[in-house]
Symmetry: C2
Subunit: 196 residues, 2 copies
Amino acid sequence: MNQKQTPLREQTRNVVRSLLARTAIELFASQGYDDTTLDEVAAAAGVSRRTLYNFFRNKEDLALSSLAEQGDLIAARFAERPADEDPWVSLRAAFQVLEEIEIRGEQRLEMVRLLFGNETLRAGHAEKQARWQDLLAPLIEPRLPPGDGREFQARTIAATAITCLQAATEEWMRRGGKADLPDLYDEAIRAVRGPA
Amino acid sequence: MNQKQTPLREQTRNVVRSLLARTAIELFASQGYDDTTLDEVAAAAGVSRRTLYNFFRNKEDLALSSLAEQGDLIAARFAERPADEDPWVSLRAAFQVLEEIEIRGEQRLEMVRLLFGNETLRAGHAEKQARWQDLLAPLIEPRLPPGDGREFQARTIAATAITCLQAATEEWMRRGGKADLPDLYDEAIRAVRGPA
DNA sequence: CACATTCGTGCACACTGTGCAAGTTGCTAC
DNA sequence: GTAGCAACTTGCACAGTGTGCACGAATGTG
């Protein structure tokens, strides 16, 4: 009983939640983010505007809800890597999760265009990804050589890797989704750290 | 006549603009960003709310107005550096502008705390700094060795340097403004690119 | 002095986001 | 079964942001 009860509620909640998010993103992509009101989204999903706020903190969260989970997945993948592996190698492997999970082809490009096309969303997107630092830095820190300021170094490494991922994603979009994202990421890392 | 007229308007406009920004930041710092309404800011500055919008696009711009000029200053300083200097060295020198211009001591710490303390402002702050890429990348590009994808590499280098600056600033704040920001920036760069 | 341009301002409005107070539904316990 | 509990949906009212518009004042021009 206890096994079913809580998960049951939570399960339906998650289903509804992702349904709402998908409905919203579809509208955002077709009409534009600013030109879509939450009333429209609510109507399209068959709920009231007030209910939308029971699932998402604000309009931005509605568009960026997928990013939070992605951070968790990346951190989980990183944690699976061997403890003596170079952090940069582990990071690259961890980001590979996105290739496995994200929607393929045109839909993915549409989503990226949405995120980079609007100033508010671009800022929110970058900020959400920047918070991945908080998940990754504690995992990176124990792999650094002993010494002062390891926490700061770990945060910096996480932030830089995420920045390279963002730069690669933007370039990927600029090329119309025709390039290979991991390749672009590698090129970004090479530009920063030199060929190795 | 033509020489005076236009600059005259523009001059008073700039004075008023910076007065409004300073009034706003003072209120934001003392009461908090979210707990300060634009009506309050307008009243404190002796203008109407509608007039505020003649000078700033929105509430966020009112708090971040100083960042746009900083980007221009950094780019200008970068352009002054010798054309054959390593881009990373030039970038470090360009960021030095902030040390010369920004307000010293407690006031600077207060400003940084304001920017990092609020989620919206943190996002807007990061996004505005990320736009510095657009200014710096074209200056970095001609300094890279010939080959494909130089533009992408230049953007990535600019983005990474800015990220390190942000990480350094955050660490500087975390230490209560007691550390030397350029030192922290160097440490961040070392963490990413290795000792050199 | 008549005129044009610019700017500040008030007003009305659409939209976001929140607190509150209902009403509804599904589950639990008796 | 049914009484009751807890979570959820919804409508309503409201504060705050941001915008279009039009009027009036100030300033510079012929």
